[in-house]
């Protein structure tokens, strides 16, 4: 048992013959924001997708090592994968709302987890949309299709959708990379707010973003976790030369 929110021990991940993650050891604490940074294809998204077993969906993945969430080995044989995924929310790179109404998008997670009580669903949906700082923009059109929203609004809707099922941990895979600067700013503010209640791990290409919003930063390079420390330390005093080069913009 460990009291870390997330703990990874000696993780090696392969996509068929490709060695995507090499001997990763990592922990994240509750109510903090951890940022994964690194050049494209360095394995940061792959590691993120280990935490809610999304890699299970890709043919040809296999791994060795252990991953714990709240002290529970999530790759144990009898684990309830659907339950795990309810507990570990995820926000994807591109906004991916369902082609349903705004209300139904947020209610979806509750419904598939067996919630029937109408009033409870209504309350939770309202709360989640408010939490995602979207309420004022959509409160009059909850019955309209989510596809009518702008990209930034859609992404906040996806965050609301993840929040509605009250996950213990939220994974964000470059949530602002497809958005304009104003929308990005809103998402960052939101993450800052959410930190008080949730543990968040965010993959980002944007170094400034990582610097602004995260408490801890992990730098990945070619499948290795090169360095992992407090964000401030990584950005001001990196120990590894590769981190230093990346941060100062020499490659990546």
């Amino acid at each position: 048992m460990s009291d870390h929110k997330v703990e990874v021990k000696n993780l090696d991940l392969y996509y068929n013959d490709f060695h995507a993650l090499k001997n990763i050891n990592f922990t994240a604490e509750a109510k903090t924001v951890s940022a994964f940074i690194g050049p494209s294809g360095c394995g940061k998204s792959s590691l993120l997708r280990m935490f809610n077993r999304m890699n299970d969906l890709i043919d040809g993945t296999r791994f060795t090592g252990e991953v714990f969430v709240d002290g529970q080995d999530i790759y144990e044989k009898n684990i309830d994968v659907d339950g795990l995924r309810k507990n570990v929310g995820m926000v994807f790179q591109k906004p991916n709302p369902f082609p349903k109404t705004i209300f139904e998008n947020v209610a979806y997670g509750l419904r598939v987890n067996g919630v029937k009580d109408k009033h409870f669903i209504e309350k939770k949906v309202t709360e989640a949309i408010k939490q995602a700082a979207l309420w004022d923009e959509v409160k009059d059109k909850l019955k309209k299709s989510a596809m009518e929203l702008s990209g930034g609004q859609q992404q906040r809707l996806c965050i609301a959708r993840a929040l509605a099922v009250e996950p213990a941990l939220i994974l964000m895979d470059e949530p602002a990379s497809a958005l304009d600067p104003i929308s990005t700013g809103k998402i960052e503010d939101l993450i800052f707010e959410l930190k008080n209640q949730y543990s968040i791990i965010i993959v980002t290409h944007n170094l400034q973003q990582a610097g602004r919003i995260s408490d801890f930063t992990a730098f990945f390079y070619m499948g290795e976790l090169v360095e992992w420390n407090k964000t401030k330390t990584i950005f001001t005093n990196p120990t590894d030369i590769r981190t230093q080069n990346y941060i100062t913009g020499r490659f990546g």
Partner: protein, 397 residues
């Protein structure tokens, strides 16, 4: 060099334009031909050209329908009062009966006396009804020609009897054929729909890559088998099986047709539905799974709703294929033109009727035209299905 290129471009453009125009015009011509021949039926009577139906001049009946004429000559109607005349027994005479009543001497060479003899005979017998070619109609004929009502569209569609070769007047009631077609198709869809959709869903969502790569060619192979082979299979395997299973006198039933059609429309349904299901973006499925939905919930709540219009299109195209199918159905459904009440009765479909009867229908005659009119009905049915596909396809969320 540049000029050559431009000429080449012009030629390509011309070839493409011509070929597409030729195709469109051909299709239109086929449809125009179908309608021209079929609609020609409705300004004719059901009596063959140059044949007259005649009664005694004292007879108070002035008009008969083709069905009444048929019933009279089949002795289903035996008294004139049944068709609104006086209480008098009916005697029926065909041209052969008439000629047979007289000796060759009486008839004379080349039957020159026949018109007079016929005229005399009909005048002498008040209850007689006879038909013969109008060449034997005497100039100052004393009896009464019975005009037959023209075939009406309503009668053609709603008529329940199909006796295209009955003499002297054929009866064209397409209703049993329309019903037969719809019954067989409906049965086929009821069978093919669940099986097809489940297979499509399995192939698109559950089966692994390797199994899918094996299943897909097999399904596609199904559509490559000629329909006559399906019919053969149905006749030799399915029909006896149904006969034994349900203890019937004959195994050629609507059910046999439906099963064969179901097998034949499966590839269409599976292939199109599977493609539709696979268009559901991976991101949506992942979003659903990431919220804790099970695989099954994701399928029913995200994948299927997303692919809904494609799935409906698959179903309608499957039905379209089933409605127009001829050969296999002709071989296994028993071809009895009666209104079906259960799936275990023989039925006859429109395509099967056309295929079976066109060979014996005199070119240009009413029977021939009636078959074309059937073709129009079939065309309209399939056209409606195709329109449905179009409207469903364009209705995206």
């Amino acid at each position: 060099m540049k000029k050559l290129k431009r000429i080449f471009d012009k030629i390509t453009h011309g070839v493409l334009f011509t070929s597409s125009m030729v195709t469109s015009v051909t299709v239109l011509l086929v449809i125009v031909f179908l309608f021209k021949e079929g609609i020609g039926l409705f300004n004719q009577t059901a009596v063959e050209n140059h044949v007259v139906v005649v009664v005694n001049s004292a007879n108070s009946v002035h008009e008969l329908t083709s069905k009444q004429v048929k019933d009279i000559f089949n002795q289903d109607i035996t008294n004139w009062k049944e068709v609104g005349g006086q209480d008098l027994e009916i005697t029926t005479r065909s041209i052969d009966d008439l000629a047979g009543q007289f000796t060759e001497e009486e008839l004379g060479t080349d039957m020159v006396n026949l018109p007079t003899l016929i005229d005399q005979y009909i005048s002498d017998n008040p209850g007689v009804i006879a038909y013969f070619p109008d060449t034997y109609l005497k100039k100052d004929f004393r009896s009464k020609k019975i005009p037959l009502a023209k075939i009406s569209v309503k009668e053609f569609i709603s008529g329940v009897e199909w006796y295209p070769t009955s003499q002297p007047a054929a009866v064209y009631g397409a209703w049993p054929l329309i019903l037969g077609t719809l019954w067989v198709s409906l049965g086929a869809i009821l069978l093919a729909l669940p099986i097809g959709l489940i297979t499509a869903l399995y192939m698109a969502e559950v089966a692994g890559q390797r199994l899918r790569n094996m299943l897909k060619p097999v399904v596609e192979l199904l559509s490559g088998i000629p329909s006559v082979v399906y019919g053969f299979f149905g006749l030799v395997v399915l029909v006896p099986l149904i006969q034994r299973l349900f203890k019937l006198d004959v195994g050629e039933t609507a059910l046999a047709g439906s099963i064969i059609l179901a097998i034949m429309s499966l590839p269409t349904i599976i292939t199109i539905a599977e493609d539709a299901i696979r268009t559901t973006p991976r991101a949506l499925k992942e979003a659903s799974l990431a919220l804790g939905a099970s695989h099954w919930q994701t399928m029913t709540r995200v994948t299927i709703p997303y692919a809904k219009s494609g799935i409906i299109a698959a179903v309608i195209l499957g039905i379209g294929r089933a409605v127009g199918e001829t050969m296999a159905v002709l071989m296994v459904t028993g071809n009895a033109s009666v209104i079906p009440h259960t799936f275990l009765e023989p039925v006859r479909t429109i395509p099967a009727t056309i295929a079976a009867e066109l060979g014996e229908a005199p070119f240009g005659g009413t029977h021939f035209k009636a078959l074309f009119a059937l073709g129009i009905i079939l065309f309209i049915i399939t056209f409606i299905f195709n329109m449905l596909v179009e409207t469903v396809k364009t209705k995206k969320v």
